[in-house]
């Protein structure tokens, strides 16, 4: 499955990373090299193999649904590029 410049444009868009037009072709080549190396996995017989999603064979632990911390607005906002009145300021989302 060859990756072309259009695929890179689409994937970069999905990843929300701006890639200039002149980078699309070189990136397509780089990704193709890596993906075709990865495709040797097709040689492995995985019929009936359960996919491994975690190496830890334990059930996800649950805790009581109680508030354990909070009231840290100023600490949480301390790294915000822009904030006011206890809120993050972000670009307009809806017109």
């Amino acid at each position: 499955m060859a990756i072309d410049a259009a695929t890179v444009r689409k994937v970069a868009r999905l990843a929300r990373i701006r890639e200039p037009e002149e980078r699309l072709e070189p990136l397509a080549q780089e990704l193709n090299t890596i993906i075709s190396w990865i495709e040797q996995l097709e040689e492995v017989d995985t019929d009936g193999v359960e996919p491994m999603t975690s190496v830890v064979a334990v059930a996800l632990p649950l805790r009581d649904d109680v508030v354990t911390e909070g009231g840290d607005t100023s600490r949480i906002l301390s790294n915000a590029p822009k904030s006011a009145d206890g809120f993050f300021i972000v670009p307009k989302v809806v017109e």
Binding site: V11, E30, T46, P51, N79
Partner: protein, 490 residues
């Protein structure tokens, strides 16, 4: 006093307890050494004032006859661990001057036990790299050089700062993390000891995430026993990390020096890769002979899916990374660039903030997870991952631990592999299998190549059996008698 930096962690802790010297003394000695070694680029942030304040508190506790397991010991912290009130960057421009309002669980345990923080250590950006060259702060320089050459070598990666600082006596020991080999390969390249424990031993809470099902913290130290002392403080169950294991933390150091007689050591035939330098073949044979002398039984084992570990890793790790790194969007912290629309800000902040290798991996991860490709790549990789884990389960039927080389070469020159991503990825060929299977792996220095560079041997153990690895590593350390240090040129 500067020879205080030459002490092992164990000797320093004994000296501190005996009040032969103070924590302020040994901390000052390290601060001076760090100032003189800036050419190595190991630290991305020095915190001398905080270090001296912590040292003074340690001295007060020691004077009262109190103190924890690491009381007064100055350590370096990989800049992937969030430290409360101290800039934490993951060596990425996208985090900029991010100052966490919380402390990672692992580092909080070090401070609980009385350790002193010297500063934050350089790494590959978001721990993605094997040579430290993807760091936004520029690469760390390996304190080791080839005999008769002043070419700058890589300390390995991603924990290159941790390894170089430990090797150059710029800390008694350091924290590190390992997603595909990022503790063990730098340890091998710098003549230090590193262990990636069983997945779940150390809490991942507060460690900037790369690939969550593979990431695991561990120490880099000067000796096997020092690594054991560090790991005990770093380990333990944490309710803030749902994959942290609710198990007792053994006194790992008590395993060092125990007899290894009767242990069965597996030698996996698939780790004999074409093009492996003869010196590494010889080192491996030496390691086998040393363990035989120590009373171990050597058995050949097969891990048939070894060659598929790296390709599987380069699906699983980028997929998880693309998801984990989605949080860097310029809204709540870090770099914000571009505009005016929200999408423009996202795309421009991420374009400017991430380096090339990180972008490459996010794109691969996004691609393999995207509609139509998920089954062919991601699901397939998870199934191959199961096969790799099954290989180890099979091996444990006939052996108690595995012995392999740590890396396929000695430290290489900066720039030597940076044009070829796959050549760079192959650095992790012997280490990545344990991340996929969640098993503990330890690297220790065992010899030097013809040009005088250190080479490492790796021990792989059963899940939660770090104790056996420490016993075996202790035996190998005694037999190898590796005491060489890099000649000081910095």
């Amino acid at each position: 006093m500067s020879d205080l930096t030459k002490l092992t962690l164990k000797a320093a802790l004994a000296g501190l307890k005996a009040r032969d010297f103070s924590s302020v003394d040994i901390t000052k000695a390290h601060i001076e050494a760090i100032e003189q070694a800036r050419g190595l680029n190991a630290y991305v942030l020095e915190t001398p004032d905080q270090a001296l304040a912590m040292a003074a508190e340690s001295d007060a506790r020691l004077a009262r006859g109190e103190g924890g397991a690491l009381e007064g010991a100055p350590l370096g912290i990989k800049d992937l661990f969030c430290t409360d009130g101290v800039r934490s960057t993951a060596a990425s421009k996208i985090l900029g001057n991010f100052v966490p309002a919380y402390e990672s669980t692992v580092t909080s345990q070090l401070w609980r036990d009385g350790a002193v923080m010297l500063g934050k250590l350089n790494l590959d950006e978001f721990a993605m790299g094997s040579s430290n060259e993807t760091s936004a702060f520029g690469p760390v320089i390996n304190p080791w050089r080839r005999d008769g050459s002043d070419a700058a070598l890589t300390p390995g990666g991603s924990s290159g700062g941790s390894a170089a600082a430990t090797a150059a006596d710029l800390c008694l020991a350091a924290t590190a993390t390992d997603t595909g080999g990022s503790i063990r390969q730098p340890a091998a390249f710098t003549g230090t000891v590193g262990i990636k424990p069983t997945y779940g031993r150390c809490s991942r809470w507060g460690i900037i995430a790369f690939a969550s099902s593979l990431d695991q913290a561990g120490p880099i130290a000067k000796t096997v026993e020092d690594a054991a002392i560090m790991l005990r403080s770093m380990s333990g169950h944490d309710v803030k990390d749902s994959t942290s294991l609710p198990v007792e933390v053994p006194d790992f150091a008590s395993y060092v020096g125990r007899s290894v007689k009767g242990l069965r050591i597996g030698v996996p035939k698939e780790y004999r890769v074409p093009g492996m330098p003869a010196e590494i073949e010889k080192l491996w044979a030496d390691g086998i002979a040393w363990l035989k002398d120590a009373g171990c039984e050597i058995v050949e084992v097969s891990l048939p899916h070894t060659k598929y570990a790296l390709p599987a890793y380069y699906i699983v790790a980028p997929a998880e990374a693309s998801s984990n790194l989605a949080r860097y969007d310029g809204m709540r912290y870090g770099l914000r660039a571009g505009g005016p629309s929200l999408t423009d800000v996202y795309e421009e902040s991420r374009a400017q903030g991430f380096g090339e290798e990180v972008k490459r991996r996010i794109l691969i991860g996004t691609y393999v997870l995207s509609a139509g490709y998920y089954d062919a790549y991601y699901l397939k990789a998870q199934k191959v991952r199961r096969r790799i884990a099954d290989d180890f389960d099979q091996a444990w039927q006939t052996c108690d631990a595995l012995l392999t080389p740590t890396a396929p070469s000695a430290a290489f020159a900066l720039g030597e592999q940076s044009d070829d991503p796959i050549a760079m990825y192959l650095n992790d060929i012997f280490t990545v299998t344990t991340n996929l299977a969640g098993l503990p792996g330890l690297s220790l220095p065992a010899g030097r190549d013809a040009q005088g560079l250190p080479l490492g041997l790796q021990l792989i153990g059963r899940a939660l059996d770090e104790g056996t690895l420490f016993s075996l590593a202790g035996a190998l350390e005694r037999a190898a008698g590796f005491t060489a240090k890099a000649d000081r040129w910095w």
